[in-house]
C-alpha cells in the first residue's frame, strides 16, 4: 500500500507504518496506520476495536440495575461519570427525581472524578512528551482522590456507587473531612504542575501550534469537551443542559481560542481548578442528614430494617433482585459532561425489565475521529502529542 507523493525534494516513495495496537503512547490498544514521508505524517488512519467487549449487547441481557456495573468499565478513568449518565437516563425513563442530598453527593464525586481523570491525562501526556516527573506528582494526588472513592464506595476504581434513584449506601462519617483535606492541598499542587510545564520551553515547543483543530472543524466532527472548548466554543453540558442540580453551582467554563495542544492543556488545568470550586460548594451544600434514595417502591430496594418487619418490603426486595423493574416503553437520551466531553446514554425501554437498547455516545470515540485532521502534515513526534491531547480511553472508544 505505498503511494508516491510530491514533496519538496521531488517525488518520493512513502512508507506505511503500523503504530500500535501495542504502543505505550496510544494509552491502550489504539492502532494508527500512518503513511510517512520521511518523518512527516502524510496520512494517519486510526483503527479501533481491539478492546471491543460488546458492552452494549451485554446491557440488553442484564436488568436495568445490573447494567450499572458494566458502565463502570466503559471509561475506566471516570467510572462515576458513567454511572451518573446511565442512572440519570434510567431515572428520566422512569420519571423519578433523586433527593437533593444525593444529587449534591453525586456532583461532588463526579467532580472529583473529573480531577482524577484529568490528572491521569496530564501525567501520561506529559510523560509521552518527555516530562516524566509530572506523572509521579499527578498520580500522588490521584491516589488521594481514589482513597476518597474507596472510603465512600469500597472501591477505588469500579465504584458502581450511583444507583438508580440515588446512592448505593450512606457515605461514611468523616468522609467530608477527607475531601476538605484534599481541597486544602490540591490547589497548590496544581500550581506545582503549572510551574513544571506552563512556561517550560520544551513543553511549549512540543505543544504550541501543534495539533490545531479550529472551531468549525471541531463542531463538524462532533468533538466535545475540553478539545472543543480549547477551540473557543463554550459548549459544556453542565451549563447548556444542567443535570443533577448543576444550575445551583457557581463555576466558569474555561475556554481558549488557540485550538492547539497547549490550549487544551491550559483548558484542562483550568477545569481542575473549577472542579475544586464545585467540590467546595457541594461539600458545603450537602445536608448532614436526609434521604439518599428516592421513595419509589418496586424500583428502589427497601431498607434492610424494613424488610425484617414489613411483608411488602420483603416482596419488593425479592422482586427487584429476581426480575427487576420495568420502565414504561419509550426512549431517552441523557447527556452529561464527562471529563472527555459529551457522554450520552440512549436507553430504550420496550416495557420489559431489561433494556431493549443501551447506546453509549462515547466522547473519546467521536473525538478520535479528528486525529487525522490534527496530525496530518506534521511530524511523527507531533502525532504522539495529538493522541495524548485527545485524551482517549479505549474502554470507551471500543465499548
Amino acid at each position: 500500500m505505498t503511494t508516491t507523493v510530491q514533496t519538496a525534494t521531488g517525488a518520493t516513495e512513502t512508507m506505511v507504518l503500523n503504530m500500535g495496537p501495542q504502543h505505550p503512547s496510544t494509552h491502550g490498544v489504539l492502532r494508527v496506520v500512518v503513511e510517512l514521508d520521511g518523518e512527516t505524517v502524510v496520512k494517519a488512519r486510526p483503527e479501533v476495536g481491539y478492546l471491543h467487549t460488546g458492552i452494549e449487547k451485554t446491557c440488553e441481557a442484564l436488568t436495568y440495575s445490573q447494567a450499572i456495573t458494566v458502565t463502570d468499565r466503559l471509561d475506566y478513568l471516570a467510572p462515576l461519570s458513567n454511572n451518573l449518565g446511565y442512572c440519570l437516563a434510567v431515572e428520566k425513563l422512569l420519571g423519578i427525581e433523586v433527593p437533593k442530598r444525593a444529587q449534591y453527593v453525586r456532583v461532588l464525586l463526579t467532580e472529583l472524578t473529573r480531577i482524577a481523570s484529568h490528572l491521569v491525562w496530564l501525567g501520561t501526556h506529559a510523560m509521552d512528551l518527555g516530562a516524566v516527573s509530572v506523572m509521579l506528582y499527578c498520580f500522588r494526588e490521584r491516589e488521594q482522590v481514589l482513597s476518597i472513592f474507596e472510603m465512600v464506595s469500597g472501591q477505588r476504581m469500579m465504584t458502581s456507587y450511583f444507583r438508580i434513584g440515588g446512592l448505593a449506601l450512606e457515605p461514611p462519617p468523616g468522609w467530608l473531612d477527607r475531601v476538605a483535606a484534599f481541597l486544602q492541598t490540591f490547589p497548590s499542587r496544581i500550581d506545582e504542575y503549572e510551574e513544571l510545564l506552563t512556561s517550560n520551553r520544551i513543553w511549549k515547543l512540543r505543544t504550541v501550534g501543534i495539533g490545531v483543530l479550529n472551531a468549525k472543524d471541531a463542531v463538524a466532527d462532533g468533538v466535545s469537551g475540553p478539545m472543543l472548548r480549547a477551540a473557543g466554543v463554550a459548549y459544556d453540558v453542565r451549563k447548556f443542559f444542567p443535570y443533577s442540580s448543576y444550575e445551583e453551582f457557581d463555576f466558569d467554563v474555561p475556554t481558549r481560542t488557540e485550538s492547539d495542544c497547549y490550549a487544551r492543556y491550559l483548558v484542562r488545568v483550568a477545569e481542575m481548578r473549577e472542579s475544586v470550586k464545585i467540590v467546595r460548594q457541594a461539600a458545603a451544600k450537602i445536608p448532614p442528614e436526609g434521604p439518599i434514595r428516592t421513595d419509589a417502591p418496586g424500583i428502589i430496594p427497601p431498607e434492610r430494617e424494613a424488610m425484617k418487619t414489613e411483608m411488602e418490603a420483603l416482596i419488593y426486595h425479592f422482586k427487584i433482585f429476581t426480575e427487576g423493574f420495568a420502565p414504561p416503553p419509550g426512549e431517552v437520551y441523557q447527556r452529561i459532561e464527562s471529563p472527555r466531553g459529551e457522554l450520552g446514554f440512549f436507553v430504550v425501554s420496550d416495557g420489559s425489565p431489561r433494556p431493549c437498547r443501551v447506546k453509549v455516545r462515547a466522547p473519546s470515540f467521536v473525538n478520535l475521529q479528528a486525529l487525522p485532521e490534527m496530525a496530518e502534515g506534521r511530524l511523527v513526534a507531533d502525532l504522539i502529542a495529538c493522541i495524548g491531547t485527545t485524551d482517549i480511553v479505549l474502554g470507551e472508544v471500543d465499548r
Binding site: G344, F346, Q369, R399
Partner: protein, 160 residues
C-alpha cells in the same frame, strides 16, 4: 392539571410542516424530548434544512443510534440526536428502515462529517448500509467477521 401541549405545537414542527408538508410523518414527545419521524427518503433533505436554516442551525450531531425492533416491521429504527449550539436546542430525528431487503439509508456525512464513524459502527453492528458514505467498513469487529452482533436475532454469547 392541564394537558401537556401536543407535540404539533412545537415551533420546530410547525416550521417544518410549513416548509414541506411531507417532511414529518409524526411528532412525538416523551419525557420532554421531541422526536420527529421522517420518511427515509427525506432524511438528507430535512437534515440539510435543519443544519443550515437561520434560526434552527442544528450544527452538532451528537449521536446516531440504531435500534432493532424485531419482530416488528420495519425492523430498524435510526435515531439522530441533533444539537443546535447557537440556540441550545435539541432534537431527535427518526427514520424506519425495513429489514426485509438490504437495509439502506442515505448517509449524512456530507452534512455532519462526524456521522462517518457513527454510520460505520451501525453498518458493523446492525448491517445497515449508508448510501454515499465515503468509506463504509467495519469499525469495531474484525473485517472478516460474519453477522451483525447488535441485531436481536444474534445471540448474546455469539454463534457457536
Amino acid at each position: 392539571m392541564t394537558d401537556p401541549p401536543s407535540p404539533e405545537q412545537y415551533p420546530i414542527v410547525q416550521r417544518l410542516r410549513a416548509w414541506d408538508t411531507q417532511a414529518v410523518t409524526q411528532a412525538a414527545e416523551f419525557r420532554g424530548e421531541l422526536t420527529l419521524v421522517l420518511p427515509r427518503e427525506h432524511l438528507r433533505r430535512v437534515g440539510t434544512y435543519l443544519a443550515a436554516e437561520p434560526g434552527l442551525e442544528y450544527n452538532f450531531l451528537s449521536d446516531i443510534s440504531a435500534v432493532d425492533r424485531l419482530p416488528a416491521e420495519p425492523r430498524f429504527e435510526l435515531n439522530y440526536h441533533l444539537l443546535s449550539l447557537p440556540n441550545r436546542q435539541t432534537l431527535r430525528l427518526r427514520v424506519w428502515v425495513s429489514g426485509l431487503t438490504d437495509p439502506t439509508v442515505d448517509s449524512v456525512t456530507s452534512l455532519w462529517p462526524t456521522a462517518d464513524w457513527h454510520e460505520r459502527e451501525i453498518f458493523d453492528l446492525f448491517g445497515i448500509r449508508f448510501d454515499g458514505h465515503p468509506d463504509l467498513r467495519r469499525i469495531l469487529m474484525p473485517d472478516d467477521w460474519e453477522g451483525h452482533p447488535l441485531r436481536k436475532d444474534y445471540p448474546v454469547e455469539g454463534f457457536r
